[in-house]
Amino acid sequence: MRLESLSDIGLEKREWAAKQSRVYRKLKLWFLVHEVVQNSKFILLLLIGFWFYQPIFTPWLYKILWQLRFLTQNAVAWVIP
């Protein structure tokens, strides 16, 4: 193998072929996770804040369920007469 033949990468191409699809899938997954985290930083920080305030999930669940029940029970009030 001499300098002039360095541009031929046949051997490495064969080695890479076995890895390519796996690496691409991993890359897509990492990038997706990265984008989700980057674009939802505010919500994540808010959730972490809530979690520090009340680390048990059940009270939050009851709050959400209560809100949903309240909104559905008073659905008629949404309609502007």
Partner: protein, 138 residues
């Protein structure tokens, strides 16, 4: 060119570049992934991505090669690449990088200068020194 076709076209070339620098298959694979990850993150122009991708690969290769010696000892023995005639082994890693960018990727001195941040004159003297070393070894 979209990122997926750039990955299938330039990916193998970056893999070969890292492999020929003496990195293990796993390190080279991680290196290619890191190159494209950084490129996607920095939203580059995918119409002519080669020089930019190699610029990232150049810096990643430096980072990987600077890993502490102990980490290398803890690892399994790296799989040697089956070259019949590995004449690049006589070169310093820095010379190897320049030689690969010029002779493997067929980039001009100006392009390599933009990638490495070294002046063209320095690159030319590095290449001639590397060629001399290879000739002496042969």
């Amino acid at each position: 060119m979209d990122p997926e076709s750039a990955f299938s076209e330039i990916g193998p070339r970056i893999f070969a570049y890292l492999r020929r620098l003496g990195l293990t298959p796993d390190d080279s694979q991680d290196g290619v992934q890191e190159v494209f990850f950084r490129a996607l993150r920095s939203k580059i122009d995918w119409n002519a991505p080669k020089a930019y991708l190699f610029k990232i690969a150049y810096h990643i290769a430096i980072d990987i090669m600077r890993k502490p010696f102990q980490e290398e000892l803890d690892k399994d023995i790296p799989t040697p690449f089956p070259y019949e005639d590995d004449f690049l082994s006589v070169l310093h890693p820095e010379e190897k990088q320049i030689i690969l960018l010029i002779y493997q990727e067929l980039l001009t001195y100006e392009e390599v200068s933009r990638i490495t941040g070294k002046p063209v004159g320095t690159l030319k003297s590095l290449v001639s020194r590397a060629k001399k070393k290879i000739k002496e070894e042969a």
